[in-house]
């Protein structure tokens, strides 16, 4: 809000100037309701629209909103608008609609009442009164809301320092079924693409490959014989051998033999991290 507006909003404070025009303070509303054009514009900008202005005019004369002397109010209102229209037509537009409404009510009230009893005519002011009341209750509600305690003006939400504020992520529970079902889907998809890609039972070989890789991490070079554990039986030997071949194929290790029929060695081809 501009400074000028704050000035004009103190209208009822009679000891305070409601407007300063050409350096001269106006402490009272002029009795003839004449308002210098410079002051009028800021006054109207201080109003939230034609209803607000109308309410102001009614309140200023201590009139009951339910009992508006239409003739008088309309006269005042139109005087305001006339002045306004000369300077700021755009702002005046909404006010002009109200002026038209007032004029209509006035004309209807001047017409003689219908003689017939059963034709009960509503007071022409009824609609205006309803709108004014409706607007006034929200105007007042807005001020009530403005008075509610609010952050930074009336209170501050407090906080204390916390040493560690990082989020603790709890890993979700996983069900082995979900993993197996995921794998089943992969198998189904792989079946569609390449019919025989995954056909053999290879898990024990895979398991062995993992443990071989662990050995390779420890030692870069060791004898081929030492890989085989007789206790694992024939099946175990085959699995180990297959694992070595797989790793050879994957270029993770190399098999070295320095001389014919000599000792066979496994050499790690792993890259250091």
């Amino acid at each position: 809000m501009s400074k000028v507006q704050t000035k004009t909003q103190t209208v009822v404070q009679s000891e305070m100037p409601f407007a300063i025009v050409e350096g001269k303070p106006y402490t009272q509303m002029p009795t003839d309701l004449y308002i210098p054009p410079e002051a009028l514009e800021v006054i109207l900008e201080a109003f939230e629209g034609p209803l607000d202005l109308l309410l102001y005019l009614i309140r200023r004369q201590n009139l009951n909103i339910l009992d508006i002397p239409i003739t008088e109010i309309t006269k005042q209102y139109i005087e305001y608008i006339d002045l306004l229209g000369e300077m700021n037509f755009e702002l005046a537009a909404e006010y002009l609609v109200m002026a038209a409404m007032l004029a209509e009510i006035k004309s209807r009230m001047l017409l003689p009442k219908p003689a017939s009893e059963d034709l009960e005519e509503e007071d022409p002011r009824a609609e205006l009164v309803r709108r004014l009341q409706e607007y006034e209750r929200f105007k007042s509600a807005a001020l009530d809301i403005d008075e509610l305690p609010r952050e930074y003006r009336d209170y501050i939400v407090t906080s204390a320092y916390v040493e560690q504020k990082e989020q603790y992520l709890i890993p979700p529970e996983v069900d082995m079924r979900d993993i197996i079902m995921a794998f089943k889907d992969i198998l189904a998809r792989a079946d569609l693409k390449i019919s025989h890609a995954i056909e053999r039972e290879v898990l024990s070989v895979r398991d062995k490959m993992t443990s071989l890789l662990d050995i390779l991490r420890e030692r870069q070079f060791f004898s081929f014989d030492s890989l085989f554990n007789p206790l694992e039986g024939r099946q175990g030997v085959v699995v180990t051998f297959l694992a070595v071949l797989e790793l050879l194929k994957a270029q993770v290790l190399d098999i070295v033999q320095n001389e014919n029929y000599g000792q066979i060695y496994i050499k790690s081809l792993q890259v250091e991290e």
Partner: protein
């Protein structure tokens, strides 16, 4: 677990969070101690009482419980910051009032009551502040958005629910009032009667507005 310890943890948790915390969220803190909703509520009740004598207070707003500085200490607290909190324009306050009391409400309906256009700037400001949100679109030509308020709006204004909004002034039923109305056009008479017809609530919105403006100027 002793109630003293529970209260200390809740106090620390509310201060650590720096935002409203629900009882449910507090309960999750005590997952191992298996405290019930009621245990927490009781501790909170005691804390509210404990804080009576202190610089901060424990209050409940729409999104939960929070600790905040007491309003009466604001004259001191506000001195911590150079910048003063900004005031809201009447247009913005009237718009948020209409949305709060009349939700779900369209822009057109707000304009009908206020008698003037609602600027897009105001709607955008209210949306940016998370005070209002679009609740849906009315099934009429143009599909206008219907606005309503948010939890953040309630939190900001220290309310638990819309029930805590100040009571909206009664609207006088025009039908019942009608017979009392003077249908005459004699304005002089009205002016003479003005003392009698003066509304009861002469300490009305206008007076408040002006008083408030005066206060603002003093700041």
């Amino acid at each position: 677990m002793e109630i003293k310890q529970i209260k200390n943890i809740i106090e620390a948790a509310l201060l650590a969070a720096g935002e409203p915390v629900t009882i449910k969220r507090l309960q999750s803190i005590f997952a191992e101690q298996e405290l019930t909703h009621n245990d927490i509520a009781k501790a909170i009740e005691q804390l509210v009482h404990d804080f009576e004598d202190r610089g901060i207070e424990l209050i409940e707003v729409a999104s939960g419980f929070r600790l905040q500085t007491k309003t009466i200490l604001q004259p001191w607290i506000s001195k911590l910051w150079e910048e003063k909190p900004k005031k809201y324009s009447r247009a913005l306050l009237e718009t948020i009032a209409l949305i709060a009391y009349r939700q779900p409400v369209t822009r057109g309906e707000i304009e009908d009551v206020r008698g003037v256009a609602v600027s897009s700037y105001i709607i955008r400001t209210l949306m940016d502040r998370d005070w209002i949100r679009v609740l849906g679109y009315r099934d009429v030509p143009g599909k206008p958005a219907m606005f309503g308020t948010t939890k953040e709006f309630l939190d900001y204004f220290n309310m638990k629910s819309l029930q805590e909004l100040p009571t909206l002034a009664e609207i006088k039923d025009i039908e019942t009032i009608m017979p009392e109305l003077d249908f005459g056009v004699d304005t002089n008479k009205h002016n003479n009667d003005s003392g009698k017809n003066k509304p009861e609530n002469s300490n009305n919105a206008f007076q408040k507005q002006f008083n408030q403006d005066k206060n603002n100027e003093e700041e």
